[in-house]
């Protein structure tokens, strides 16, 4: 008997069904846009798809009239720099603290409750404090990302270290490994790919914190531009920027996944791909 759970799309079908939601969203946008544009040809809320191309060309390919900069590249560079620094510092913190908390009982006793409490502080709530302590420059934006992402990474890694089979550590000890050797030869190789997976999951929040920080005070950056042109409702610039941010985030996620597959092939053994 034919049941719907047993019907499978063919190879072409997969492409078609995958493309369908994108297509539907595009058509939906075009229709809604033309309905509004019919009522008001200068409507800014849902501009024509062509005006996206025009805005992108203006921002990415033409120098700005006032500063002479290619705005989109300047913005992208500034944002990626902040994001990279913030995530980098957070990852390094997580590596050191997470391993120590997970592996060394004294460090766990000392730091675990503290990290647990800090991770519960909503970063956006203390943003005004961060600005006063770290100033309005680059530092406070990077600190916001670190503050928002690091506690999660630390706790996640500590938990995963704690999940290591006790037998592995005991076996290494009976083979004569020092604590340092256990860290380097037993724990790190298993933890690095998991840390990278955790960083992949933090990409979303990291972008959120980056853009929030840039919304509050900045002179360039992807979030800055969005909040600046929001003042005169330039959706033709905002929506392509959103698409660009999505693409950048998607690419960095794919890049990290590739790093994991390339350098830590053993992670795949025993678990499905994510």
């Amino acid at each position: 008997m034919r049941r719907i759970i047993n019907l499978r799309p063919g190879r072409g079908g997969i492409v078609l069904w995958g493309a369908l939601p994108f297509l539907a969203a595009g058509v939906a946008y075009a229709l809604a846009s033309s309905a509004r544009l019919a009522a008001n040809p200068n409507d800014k809320l849902l501009p024509q798809l062509e005006s996206f191309a025009a805005a992108l060309g203006r921002l990415a390919l033409n120098p700005d009239a006032r500063t002479g900069d290619y705005l989109m590249w300047v913005d992208t560079l500034a944002s990626l720099q902040r994001l990279g620094l913030g995530l980098g510092v957070a990852t390094a913190l997580a590596l050191v603290l997470g391993l120590a908390i997970g592996l060394i009982p004294y460090v766990r006793a000392g730091l675990s409750p503290f990290v647990g409490v800090v991770s519960m502080i909503p970063p956006m709530a203390v943003l005004p404090v961060l600005f006063i302590v770290f100033g309005l420059d680059e530092l406070s934006k990077v600190v916001l990302i670190v503050f928002g992402v690091a506690p999660f990474l630390v706790r996640d890694l500590a938990l995963k270290v704690g999940d290591l089979p006790r037998e592995q550590l005991i076996k290494a000890e009976t083979l004569g490994a020092s604590t340092w050797q256990i860290v380097v030869r037993v724990v790190l190789p298993q933890m690095l790919p998991r840390l990278i997976d955790a960083v992949r999951l933090s990409l979303g929040p990291a972008w959120l914190f980056l853009i929030s920080a840039e919304a509050i005070a900045a002179t360039e950056g992807l979030g800055y531009r969005i909040f600046l042109v929001r003042r005169y409702m330039a959706m033709d610039a905002i929506l392509p920027y959103v698409a660009w941010i999505t693409l950048l985030a998607f690419l960095s996620d794919a890049g990290l996944r590739w790093v994991n597959a390339r350098f830590f092939p053993w992670l795949k053994a025993g678990k499905g791909q994510s």
Binding site: G12, A28, A39, A55, L136, T219, Y232
Partner: protein, 359 residues
């Protein structure tokens, strides 16, 4: 494969129908009975909140057989965007924002009421430095592309400087005060109530304020032109309620004090604080003053400066090739810019009705 395509078409068709129904068309003009007006907190706009709470608005709406809902929006720019998108029939905003957001966005808008102009409510504050010339080379924290930015441009102009001599740092208005406390902020431009807080900082000096450019930063009640044309009773009810509330503010007696105190509380200050803010706001308490201002050549001159600034900063939109792209109409038929594309209209008719007691 055929069934596959068939179902694909069904899905597409469904999506289409959904969007057709979801695509709300902006502000369809026709005679209607209920209206929504947006306002946000600012010294010169507090009367709207009071008119709504005290029942004055309802009284006037009832008189013309309509209903008017006055909605407070916490985010000023968001309220303008909502109005521009068609969610409100009217909204309070400054003359510059009226030009650059709804008018440049093709929404034909009428300045129904000229409420006041900033007469010191916006200012440039330096942390170390006693004169405007010392701003040279500094980072200036302000809400970029707002009236603060405009005020800065006018200030720099007056000191023979240009925007190239400083660096503008976009800073959210809600964070200006805490930003000014941090060590790396040395100069800011902002408006009240933040301005009065910023001035309290150690060593802070007010080096330029809007009293030097009177009549250029104007606070308006903007309504959709078509809605107003089809529903004159909306204009009459709003103007009637506005001047009744303003008359109450000038009433020195207990009722006046009560109204002012209510507005002060709503603005997050006390009676003294609110009176201080009103002192740097040139309110047009009577319709006669507002009509005179709206019909004056100074308004045309001020709007010319504002539209030039807006064009230079790209605020008139991509379609704007010249400063004349968006036309501005004034009482008496004067037009600045493209007369075939007038999208911002200053109107004195309804205020004149109030002046002549015809409401």
């Amino acid at each position: 494969m055929r069934t596959l395509f068939k179902s694909a078409f069904v899905v597409l068709g469904l999506a289409l129908t959904l969007t057709m129904t979801a695509a709300q068309s902006p502000a369809v003009a026709a005679e209607k009975k209920s209206f929504k007006i947006a306002w946000s907190i600012y010294a010169g706009w507090m009367p709207w909140g009071y008119a709504a709470d005290s029942g004055i608005m309802k009284k006037w709406a009832d008189k013309y057989g309509i209903s008017v809902e006055i909605v407070q929006i916490n985010d000023y720019v968001e309220s303008i965007n909502q109005y521009t998108a068609g969610a409100f029939d009217g909204c309070v905003m400054t003359n510059m924002d009226a030009l650059t957001i709804p008018a440049a966005g093709g929404v034909d808008s009428t300045a129904l009421i000229a409420g006041d102009y900033s007469d010191g409510n916006d200012g440039v504050v330096l942390k170390d430095g006693k004169s405007l010339a010392e701003i040279k080379g500094q980072d200036v924290n302000l809400v970029e592309l707002s009236v603060s930015h405009y005020l800065l441009a006018r200030a720099l102009d007056s000191a023979g400087l240009s925007e190239r001599d400083i660096r503008v740092v976009n800073t959210a208005d809600a964070d200006i005060v805490s930003a000014f406390v941090s060590s790396d902020v040395t100069a800011t431009v902002t408006w009240n109530p933040q301005l009065s807080e910023v001035r309290k900082a150690e060593g802070a000096a007010l080096v330029f304020d809007s009293s030097r450019i009177p009549g250029e930063i104007i606070d308006l009640m903007i309504v959709n032109t078509e809605t107003l044309k089809d529903n004159p009773s909306l204009g009459k009810a709003l103007v009637g309620a506005w001047y009744e509330t303003l008359a109450l503010m000038r009433d020195g007696g207990a009722k006046g004090t009560e109204a002012l105190t209510a507005m002060a509380t709503a603005a997050g200050t006390d009676l003294e604080g609110y009176k201080a803010q009103l002192a740097t706001t040139r309110m047009f308490y009577t319709p006669a003053e507002a009509v005179a201002f709206a019909s004056s050549p100074e308004l045309v001159k001020g709007m010319d400066l504002v539209r030039t600034f807006s064009f230079d900063h790209g605020l008139l939109g991509e379609g704007a090739r010249t400063v004349d792209a968006v036309g501005i109409g004034f009482p008496g038929g004067t037009v600045l810019g493209d007369a075939g594309n007038v999208k911002l209209r200053f109107d004195a008719d309804y205020m004149r009705m109030a002046q002549e007691g015809k409401l």
